[in-house]
């Protein structure tokens, strides 16, 4: 017959309230939980950055068209300098989305846009306006870049619908039709950045595993210390017929409580740090810095996976405390008859 223990909830027959102190263990677990929160945030952040970069820049490229206003022709003209009588660029050309010029009869930019529009796997091809070009050049040429009358190429921002599009073939086709065109894929850089983000993610995962391991070791050491301190009491209770499960359960209950407190404290301490980091990382991950300054606005800016991680930390700490204490005590008790 299985009997249910109805002993009073506060009954501490092994004296664990003193043997497993409510100070040192929660403090150490809180420190581990704090580090775990940072590692989790790093893992989530790196994953988010990798995803964002891959989805955003990974499927885009730019096409530079020198002498965009020249008539399109199959023969390659002089590439180094535009003819002096080149017509001034028409500002209205700037926003011509997927302009379909009159095929071979149009200007070089029209021809380029037309070719791009007719290429499978391309979602959009948009010529950057003069203002956008000036913005791009401002870091190198200053605010007056637009007044220098430089022979700037037209720049077409292309977004691919199919990342597997053969860019070399596209570049060859464009060069053949519009000589001097430069096709620059962002894929290489995005690949490198993504690899970097994935490495950071792996490092964060490794750090998290280490923190879990150290937390388990801390609980194990505290439990062994408690076992040594309460050896006499354990022998008495064991002699009175307590099972290994009964004794391990008493230790595990205490360790779980202390680890949960530590985990919750660590998560709470990590919250402001994570909010600050999330604010800094938001622009890189496609998010935005909260417009309103306030605690609620900043808390709301914290990504959902990080919130979930913070909530999971006390539960994780509790699980580590329970499993480690159970294992440590049961192994220790095996030396007894």
């Amino acid at each position: 017959m299985t009997s249910v223990s109805l002993r009073p909830s506060g009954f501490d027959e092994l004296g664990l309230r003193r043997a497993l102190s409510d100070r040192l263990l929660p403090f150490l677990v809180a420190a581990m939980a704090f580090l775990a929160a940072l590692a989790l945030a790093g893992w989530v952040g790196a994953a988010s950055l990798a995803r964002e970069w891959q989805a955003g820049s990974g499927s885009s490229l730019t096409v530079q068209v020198p002498r965009p206003g020249d008539p399109a022709q199959r023969d390659s003209g002089p590439k180094d300098a535009p003819p002096k009588d080149a017509p001034p660029r028409d500002a209205s050309e700037g926003d011509s989305d997927k302009a379909s010029g009159s095929a071979a009869g149009g200007t070089r930019i029209e021809r380029t846009l037309s070719l791009l529009a007719g290429t499978p796997g391309i979602d959009t091809a948009r010529r950057l306006s003069d203002a956008q070009l000036t913005d791009l050049l401002r870091p190198w040429l200053g605010a007056g870049a637009g007044r220098l009358d430089l022979p700037l190429p037209a720049v077409v921002a292309v977004r691919l619908s199919d990342p597997a599009t053969d860019l070399d073939a596209l570049a060859r086709r464009l060069s053949a039709e519009v000589p001097g065109v430069l096709v620059e894929s962002h894929g290489t850089w995005v690949g490198r950045l993504t690899a970097l983000a994935r490495s950071l993610q792996a490092c964060a995962g490794l750090a998290l595993l280490l923190v879990v391991g150290v937390a388990a070791a801390v609980v194990a050491v505290a439990t062994r210390s408690g076992l040594s301190a309460r050896r006499a009491a354990i022998e008495i209770v064991h002699g009175l017929g307590a099972t290994d499960g009964y004794i391990a359960g008493r230790f595990a209950a205490r360790a779980t409580l202390l680890a949960t407190i530590g985990g919750a404290a660590g998560a709470l301490l990590a919250l402001p740090v994570l909010v600050a980091l999330a604010g800094l990382a938001a622009p890189f991950a496609g998010g935005s810095v909260p417009a309103e300054q306030g605690v609620i606005a900043f808390l709301a800016a914290l990504p959902t996976p990080i919130w979930a991680s913070l909530v999971a930390l006390p539960a994780g700490a509790a699980a580590i405390g329970f499993v480690t204490a159970q294992g440590t005590v049961r192994r220790w008790l095996r030396r007894m008859p």
Partner: protein, 225 residues
């Protein structure tokens, strides 16, 4: 029923090379249910070791030991806690838990067995009243005299109505009147079916309560009469 068949006991040597010497040699005897036995012998004869074997604090190094019908030598470790709950022990040094009150010390065997708290409260209160500690229920061991501590230890040993009661010098800290009451309790338990084994040096007590005895000398059973 308790049966020793060629039992030897050797404690495990800790931090020393080689085997430690055997403290009990070739012990063989049988105690039927409900008997009372003295365990007699000079200091160092092995009385405490023999009692430790009986209450399953150590396992025999050789031979066969059967306690309350269970072959301890062959039983799996997980079967022993239930067996221990049927054994009451009065230790020479009491072994009370210092952080628990007299009530909680006596209640411990019942709570470990998972008895309902209402029954625990009634049984423990009655038992402490019987041993004359009704007014010391909430006292901690450090607040009790040696005799009071011994009575708490006795109450804890008998509270679960054990089938085997093992006592090591149970009257060492009791006055004559208390010792007589304890002996009456032990005989009463024996009459109700509990096997009782009492180790003592107190010749006057043995003389006042004549009963068969196990005689030990130098780790050997030299008589059982």
């Amino acid at each position: 029923m308790v049966r020793f068949e060629g039992v030897g006991l050797r404690y495990r040597a800790i931090g020393r090379a080689g085997r430690s010497p055997e403290v009990l040699h070739d012990i063989s005897f049988t105690l039927p249910d409900g008997v009372f036995r003295w365990l007699l012998g000079p200091s160092g004869a092995g009385k405490t070791s023999l009692l430790r074997l009986m209450y399953l604090a150590v396992a025999p190094s050789r031979g066969h030991l059967t306690v309350l019908g269970t072959d301890v030598s062959a039983a799996p470790r997980r079967a022993l806690p239930r067996l221990r709950r049927r054994i009451g022990v009065v230790f020479q040094d009491f072994r009370l838990l210092p952080h628990l009150s007299a009530f909680d010390n006596v209640a411990l065997p019942l709570r470990i067995s998972g008895r309902p708290e209402g029954q625990v409260r009634a049984d423990v209160t009655e038992m402490l009243r019987w041993v004359g500690l009704a007014k010391r229920i909430e006292a901690y061991p450090s607040q009790l005299s040696g005799g009071e501590q011994q009575r708490v230890a006795i109450a804890r040993a008998v509270i679960a109505r054990p089938s085997l009661l093992v006592a090591d010098e149970p009257t060492g800290n009791l006055d004559d009147a208390q010792a007589e009451r304890l002996m009456q309790l032990l005989h009463e338990m024996s009459r109700l079916g509990t096997t009782v084994v009492v180790a003592t040096h107190n010749d006057r007590l043995v003389a006042r309560h004549p009963a068969p005895a196990l005689l030990l000398e130098h780790g050997r059973l030299t008589g059982h009469h």
